[in-house]
Amino acid sequence: MSAIEVEHISRSYGEVLALDDINFNVEEGELFGLIGPDGAGKSTLFRILTTLLIADKGKARVVGHDVVENYKDIRKKVGYMPGRFSLYQDLSVEENLSFFATIFGTTIKENYDLVKDIYIQIEPFKKRLAGKLSGGMKQKLALCCALIHKPEVLFLDEPTTGVDAVSRKEFWDMLQSLKKKNIAILVSTPYMDEASLCDRIGLIQKGKILKIDKPQQMMNDFKKPLYAIKTNETYNTLQYLRQQDFTESVLPFGEYLHLITRERLNTETIKIHLKQKGFTVSEVKEIKPTVEDIFLDLSDNEESLIK
């Protein structure tokens, strides 16, 4: 039995098709990432799987229970951390945790082992009101509250959005240790760089899953010639390369430009070509794609404004 099974799930809001025939499974003890921007349908899918919303079409089961027929069984067995901070702002850290333990018919003491590693980081502030915590601490408390009843499946909807790079890394470290306790985790994120921390990922855009695989496998399967280029004038180089016949796509990636060409080229040839056009080229190298390269390559950019 898989922890999560999703078959042909679709859901519309009025005329907007938020989810379009979604299919995937998450296995026990697996960390599965749904990677995609705002508006991709991630939260809608989370709400369906946590029994808060009913799909128009399709079936889904969580720990073997149907999300519509057996919704009550599911609610006891899953932990859910919604995208918006949803704890009681005017209760203290300790009171929040105790509240969530109580409504699930347990105590902090009973399941302390599961939350201990995370809780000790916020314990010095246990008397502080949740509303007065910093972003990183709120997130840790929310995770504790989602875990305190020892769920079999954990749903984390954009836990790291708006959180700084340091707190994001800490959060992912916590997820890795939870995985070892055999909890299946479905996590969504708009940050493509977090994808490589998942066992498997689904890339999602505009209600459709573009691809599902292990991140490393996805990168190995990418066959297009891809080059990273660094020059003294990134923006002008970008505009120049966009006009060239050999270019399939060219996009900025930090200090580099990532160029996908129609045919494989020699890195020296690219370098010489750019130098002849007056650019000062400091580096051209052929590279493996990042998940963001893959997402951009697969994604449908009909709303692109670039001519």
């Binding site: 990183g136 790079a165 340091v166 990134t234 930090g254 963001e292 951009l296 692109s304 404004l305």
Partner: protein, 242 residues
């Protein structure tokens, strides 16, 4: 970029009771520069931005933004700067044109000026065909660029962008940065915060705040060399993780 300073602050400090949120920050931003303002949550970025925007009075220190004194002329600063946040504030139930006209009015532009600006924005963003459509019907990327153009409707010397690309599609995020480049090339000064470290690389200079202080300020290349790091992500982690 040239020598004209659009922001110039010395020892700018903000205290809330015993807590020093911003601790004597000193820096300059030059005209036409894309200036990245980074820091972990709680490092004091928002408080510092509020002082620069005229929304919060510094406890001590001094400085100017767009030529105006941050202490004595904070009201005037609001008129001279542009501001756009992640939850940009276009009116969804007004048309593209009406939004431009509304903000032109808020900033006190003349009727003629509003008309000229409307034509200019519609043409530059290629929105002429959808000028009479409601904003809510536009794709996110278009809305975002419209919001950016509107934040500059009154030709401010500097525009503050507070996490403008959070959660945005990677393709749209890149288009937005192209719009930023274009604006900077045209002489606008851009002050931008972001949690995406690859975007930090797009800035001319980057400052990193840690515990209320500016711990580092330089070009991305110099910062990487100085901290012996491969990427800005690494620089940020070295500085902010303590």
């Amino acid at each position: 970029m040239n020598d004209e300073k659009v922001i110039q602050v010395q020892d700018l400090t903000k205290k809330f009771g015993d807590f020093t949120a911003v601790d004597a920050i000193t820096f300059d931003v030059y005209r036409g520069e894309i200036f990245g303002f980074l820091g972990a949550n709680g490092a004091g970025k928002t408080t510092a931005m509020k002082m620069l925007n005229g929304l919060s009075k510094p406890t001590s220190g001094n400085g100017t933004v767009a030529g105006l004194d941050v202490i004595k002329q904070s009201e005037k600063i609001k008129e001279r700067i542009g501001y756009m946040s992640q939850r940009f504030s276009l009116y969804e139930d007004l048309t593209v044109k009406e939004n431009i006209r509304f903000y032109g009015g808020v900033y006190g532009l003349s009727k003629q000026k509003i008309k000229d600006k409307t034509d200019q924005i519609l043409e530059e963003l290629q929105l002429t065909e959808v000028a009479s459509k409601l904003v809510k019907a536009l794709p996110l990327g278009w809305k975002q660029r419209l919001a950016f153009a509107i934040s500059m409707v009154h030709d401010p010397k500097i525009v503050f962008l507070d996490e403008p690309t959070g959660g945005v599609d990677p393709a749209v995020r890149r288009q937005f940065w192209e719009a930023i480049y274009e604006a900077a090339k045209g002489g606008s000064t851009i002050f931008v915060t972001t949690h995406y470290m690859d975007e930090a690389e797009y800035c001319d200079r980057v400052s990193i705040m840690v515990d209320g202080k500016i711990e580092a300020l330089d070009t991305p290349d110099n910062l990487k060399a100085h901290y012996n790091a491969e990427s800005m992500d690494e620089v940020f982690l070295k500085l902010a993780r303590n």
